[in-house]
């Protein structure tokens, strides 16, 4: 019995790993980048938030770590930093999903937007200090990323909820 549950958990983990890979690959594929005027979409926070709400902190932490390491492949942040941020974000979402918030779309969107906005403020401060770029300009760019990522981010919620429900039904029967 326990063996069956573990196998299902492993299968679910693999599915989430594959979905996280898609979240990384699709927005950065050649031809998907909209142009110089718009930054690349970032749906990873929404996906991890959804995993957190539906699967709890352990699965979300692991998927967050994996997603962060993937993102560091194409960004110039220090390797591991992105993983640390997203893993903790996953643990946070998993914990609030268990204790405080309901597993609904607005909760996932709120967490995803919250992370992107938080990162926007940190980035804006960094670019202000090290490159002298206007704080508000960077923040506005982040708001654009949020606006562009919100719709595909919502899609992540529905996909994760479908995967989670499917496995839940299997366990039930």
């Amino acid at each position: 019995m326990e063996y069956g549950i573990n196998r299902r958990a492993a299968a679910k983990g693999i599915i989430y790993i594959l979905l996280a890979t898609l979240c990384y690959i699709l927005p950065a594929a050649r031809g998907m980048v909209p142009g110089y005027g718009l930054p690349t979409v970032n749906v990873m926070p929404f996906f991890i938030a959804a995993v957190g709400f539906f699967e709890g902190p352990y699965m979300a932490g692991a998927v967050g770590l994996y997603g962060g390491l993937l993102l560091s492949l194409s960004s110039s942040t220090v390797e591991g930093a992105e993983g640390l941020i997203l893993a903790f974000f996953g643990i946070f979402c998993g914990s609030v999903g268990v204790m405080m918030m309901r597993k609904i779309l607005p909760s996932v969107m709120l967490c995803g937007i919250g992370l992107l906005a938080g990162r926007g403020i940190i980035s804006a401060t960094y670019y202000r200090i090290f490159y002298g770029v206007s704080f508000w300009s960077v923040l506005v760019s982040y708001l654009r990323i949020i606006a562009l990522s919100a719709l595909p981010g919502a899609l992540c919620y529905f996909i994760v909820s479908a995967v989670s429900r499917r496995f839940f039904e299997e366990e039930d029967t």
Binding site: I25, L26, A28, Y36, S75, S123, Y127
Partner: protein
């Protein structure tokens, strides 16, 4: 201290330890860790495949979507071909004249050896202040961090991180890009760098120019080669416009990159070069 025995805290501590380990390793050695190398080895080829599929789909649907504009474009291109055929004649005669002049002056070729590696662009990344790309080849093909990335048109960027089968590129548009350059016409030495406000236009700039600068629109800017980091004479771009800096004390020349970075499918990595001055 019950909290420290909680499974979740232990889980978070393990993740923190792993990430800090990765940060220390990559920060200390300047190389990507085996974890990222392994991920890159698996993910980059998949990404390359996805990019090829997206290319194919956009070509296929683009054909129906843009049929009328394609007809117009076809007519315009035919006209251009005629014009280019004429130009080709002049170009061929200019080449033979140039060869003769080289022989006459005994001018040495500046670049003795450029050891090229042809790479496919697996993905492009347009961040808030970053414009980068991932290539499908890495250390196993002899690529190293700092190698120049270019196309037939000119300089694109440099390799920032190398994995065994992939490499990351910082392009000229990235805010962290900075290179010594030379204006071909005036021979003036300048600093070319990425600029946050210009990323949206797909442009970068020559900074800290005097207000009475002689640089004009369409002037070509090339790598100066000073310091031996980049080979000299690679086209960085052309001047789009010259404008006063926000401070009003200096001027900036806005540059068009040598090539359209977001549209690149293939690039050359210069693994080694030799300069004869």
């Amino acid at each position: 201290m019950k909290i420290f025995r909680s499974k979740l805290i232990i889980f978070a501590a393990v993740i923190t330890a792993v990430c800090i380990g990765l940060m220390l390793y990559s920060g200390g050695t300047g190389k990507s860790s085996f974890v990222t190398r392994a991920l890159g080895a698996v993910v980059v080829p998949v990404q390359e495949g996805v990019s090829a599929v997206v290319d194919g789909l956009s070509d296929f649907f683009g054909y129906f979507y843009r049929y009328s504009s394609l007809v117009e474009e076809n007519a315009r291109l035919r006209e251009q071909i005629n014009k280019y055929q004429e130009m080709e004649q002049r170009y061929l005669s200019a080449i033979s004249e140039n060869t003769q002049l080289r022989k006459l002056t005994g001018l040495a070729m500046k670049y003795k050896d450029f050891d090229f590696e042809v790479c496919q662009v697996s993905s492009v990344y347009r961040g808030v202040a970053q414009v980068g790309m991932v290539l499908n080849k890495g250390a196993s093909s002899g690529i190293e961090a700092g190698d120049v990335v270019m196309t037939e048109a000119g300089f694109v960027g440099y390799i920032s991180t190398v994995g065994p089968t992939y490499s990351e590129v910082v392009t000229v548009l990235d805010i962290s890009f900075k290179a010594e350059a030379k204006v071909s016409r005036t021979k003036e030495t300048v600093i070319a760098e990425g600029d946050f406000d210009l990323i949206e236009e797909g442009r970068f700039r020559l900074a800290y120019l005097p207000t009475d600068t002689d640089i004009k629109e369409n002037d070509m800017v090339e790598t100066s080669g000073y310091g031996g980091v980049y080979p000299p004479g690679l086209v960085l771009g052309r001047v789009d416009r010259v404008e006063l800096d926000k401070s009003g004390m200096t001027c900036n020349a806005v540059l068009r990159p040598a090539d359209d970075i977001l549209e690149l499918k293939w690039v050359y990595v210069v693994k080694d070069f030799e300069v004869t001055d």
